[in-house]
Amino acid sequence: MTEPAPADPGRARRSPVRPQAMSGRRVPASRGSTAQSTVRPRAGRGPCTVTRAAGCLALPPFLLLASSPALGGALEPALARAVAAEHVSGVTSPSTDGPRWPVTLVVASDAVDGPTRARLEAALAALQVERKGPALRDAPRVWEVSAPYAVLHALADLELVDHVTRVLGPQLPPDPLPVPALAAATEARTGTVVSEALEEMRVPELHALGITGRGIRIGVVDVGFEAHRERIGSELPETVTYRRFSDAEESNQSHGTACAEVIADVAPECELYLAEIASSVDLQEALDWFIAEDVEILSHSLAWFLGGGDGTGPIVELTRAAADEGIHWVTSSGNFRRSFWQGRAGDDDRDGYVELGDGGDENIGIVPGTTTTSISLVLNWNAWPLSEGHSFQIEIWDGDTLLGTSATDFGDDYPFAFREIAVTSTAVRDPNFRIRAIRGDPAGIQLRVFRVDGGFLAEDERVEAGSLAVPADSPHALAVGAYSVRTTGLESFSSHGPTGAGLAKPDLVAADAVSTSLPRFPRFVGTSAACPHVAGAVALLLSAGVAGGAFDLHWSREEVGALLRGSADPLAGTESEAQGWGRLRLPVGPVEMERSRLRLAAAGPDGFLFTLEHRVGTDPPPYLGIHDVGGRRVAGAPAGSSRPASPRGNGPIAPHRFVEVEYTLRTSSAPLPNGRYWAVDPVSGASVPFYFQP
């Protein structure tokens, strides 16, 4: 089965914080504007009256005609403009019968429970605002609601509502292929199309043994599953259940269908549960659905920016909840290796702009396009779930000319540690971004910037380490990078670890550039394609349990990880921060675990000597991370000499497969406070505790 080729071969992307109207029309967001929004202090707003008339909420005229963000108060400027545009367009009448939009509320602290909460809920009911789902697991003040667009100003004016913002949503990882190459690859496919990676994954060998994923339930979350129905029983398994959690109409994206096809290639007899989502609350509801349906694996080929990259944030919380339920969460690591920057914030010269580069530079270069340049940047920092103490804005400049600022859409009071800016311009010569510190002391805040339009940041200024999308930084998820099945080399865009907490990620890499039957994805490229290969592989492992007694025996998350790790094949000449254990291969015989081993070899007044037994074939990490009791990385111990390791293990592990590397932490170069610390191998996660008492 095929679907019509889209008119635009470029991938239609979804803004991570853009709501959709119930009618399915997208709420416009400004692009390329340099206008600054101002938010009127709440104290200055007049009372808002709401009356009912003839079963329809009648709103005072001033409220309906509020086209200026200045009247919005706690309403996010982009939402205020969208309300005005909806009204001015005259498409719909400004009443509660009009389109409903999903929006996020941040309610006051004392509205979380008790009688105050009941008062707030009554006020929401009066505005015909429906609370969609539970609050985020780690943020009881954050609610997602569905509201008539015409009442958004009134909603923001409620005493117990601090902020009204667009919903917090996911994003497809940016398309790693340049558009011309993608267009050339587009061709109609007919018949059964199978991933080219199966052979080197050893999938046929397991299929021949009858291991086909039978009965294993796999959940796939994505922003769209177009054309999946006609593929059931052919490109997809016989048992497919689809459920849409977003309020919008069914998406015309087929990204999720492509992921499901890859899973079906690997595990043809699995049962698929497809969950279409558009926000973080949708994801939470989808997870609840998966738990109720006894789904064992979750395939997640989406990128979120709701987190600090250090294993914190609402999405990582969901991965933890899934792990508690025994669900194997497999996620794409992201396609941001060449489009990422991170660093500690500081504004030593107190000019309002954060110093970003060496020598106090306050801008980072962006690689321009040849003719028209579209630049989309996301800024986030490690203050989740709410960042009410700090506020930053990201700005795009061309030389010394301001092209756009995130303040236009988000306002300075936006409550989350997240900003986004997009501009499109011609004849850009020296594009760069700068970060403005708006509120709070920026010192010590870890800032992260992703370019999400598929373009790059300047080669000498971008940062590869830590370029993981959320939740690839989660210790509870299996993060998957990508290598090309055609070149067998690591994809240049595949995000690098380690995480901000020093955790070695991605865990492994799997193939991309594989074929699907979808015209939009004749060659499915990116970590989005790699992730479902691993999800299918996990299904094969789980379906190959032991049965025959009172119980079936399945493999735990740790055991599945051990099997994948033990059978993974490291890519030669590739940094371990980019490939983890290596490329995915399924075990077709007993697997001997080959662990890295980290030991404290010596301690003295001058410092500490660690030895790491590291598997040959991958590069040993240049530094060991030194972490304090809070898990924060506070120093690094550089690598020194190396030599072949001594024979080890009680299994058939050849000693020459390990090398022993020395790392030294000098007291003089790392003046740490007395206390307990851990040295951590960022690649294998091996760690050893020690006391720092110089």
């Binding site: 043994l209 291991i211 009965g215 109720a292 006894d294 508690d324 339920e325 025994g326 492992l541 190959a544 349990g545 032991v546 049965a547 025959g548 007694g549 009172a550 119980f551 079936d552 025996l553 399945h554 493999w555 735990s556 998350r557 740790e558 055991e559 051990a562 099997l563 790790r565 033990g566 059978s567 075990p587 077709v588 015989g589 007993p590 697997v591 001997e592 675990m593 080959e594 293990g649 299994g651 592990i653």
Partner: protein, 250 residues
């Protein structure tokens, strides 16, 4: 005690007569509630056990024949063999010992509650990436059984049927990814039993029974993992055991 005309203390017999119902209903409730940590628990099942227990206790107390029954004890040994179903024939046969309390009288009907214990093991088939898989299975059948003697002679064939609970505990030991691992799980299942045999010395102090008993239980598919997680999944299936042996009563 035997059927020689002595009677047990009425209060004692009456109290003990409730025991099968108590064990049955408690076990049934446990059977329904035996759901995995982190997974769903059926709230209605929590109410079923106590309600059934109360109903059966009331019935038992109002039955004069039961209250006047004589008490006895029984002990037996048998060879037990998993006979297909969920517990497949990879498992070896193993000795089964059984101890019980009996209630009987002049009537050809008698009843018994017994608890058995058997332990079997197997080397189940396993995927290629796992080594040395061993399963050790402990089977503890608790049975409330009614027996009917076909004749009143000293030697008499009998048939029996009953309801019971199985407590199953299974331990897996295996080697995966270079590490020796072990995990286990336990569960309770509702079972039915059917038996037949020959009773010798029915009028003596120590009647002896030689016979067989087939027990069958319905098991929903339950899965364990090495990290202690267990969950329900898959199709419901049956398990059966056949035991052949001797039982003496006194």
């Amino acid at each position: 005690m035997s059927r020689d005309g002595r009677t047990g203390a009425p209060w004692q017999a009456s109290w003990l007569a409730h025991l099968p119902a108590a064990i049955f209903t408690a076990g049934f409730a446990r059977f329904r509630m035996a759901v995995v940590p982190g997974r769903r628990a059926d709230g209605r099942a929590r109410a079923v056990g106590p309600a059934l227990l109360l109903a059966l206790a009331l019935i038992g107390a109002s039955t004069p024949e039961v209250a006047a029954a004589e008490l006895g004890a029984s002990a037996g040994g048998a060879w037990a063999l998993p006979a297909g179903g969920a517990i497949d024939d990879a498992y070896d046969g193993a000795p089964l010992v059984r101890l019980g309390v009996t209630l009987g009288g002049a009537s050809p009907w008698s009843g018994a509650i017994s608890v058995g214990l058997s332990r079997t093991e197997a080397r189940p088939s396993h995927p290629v990436f796992v080594e040395n898989v061993e399963s050790r299975l402990r089977w503890i059948p608790i049975l409330a059984e009614a027996r009917y003697r076909l004749r009143t002679a000293t030697r008499s064939p009998y048939v029996s049927c009953g309801l019971g609970l199985w407590h199953l505990r299974e331990t897996f030991a295996y080697r995966l990814a270079g590490n020796d691992r072990e995990t286990d799980g336990s569960r309770t299942a509702l079972a039915a039993s059917f038996g037949a045999g020959l009773e010798i010395g029915g009028s003596t102090r120590f009647p002896l029974r030689l016979g067989f008993r087939a027990e069958i239980a319905s098991l929903d598919a339950r899965t364990v993992t090495a990290d202690g997680t267990a969950f329900e999944g898959g199709d419901r299936r049956t398990a059966s055991w056949i035991s052949i042996g001797l039982e003496i009563e006194g």
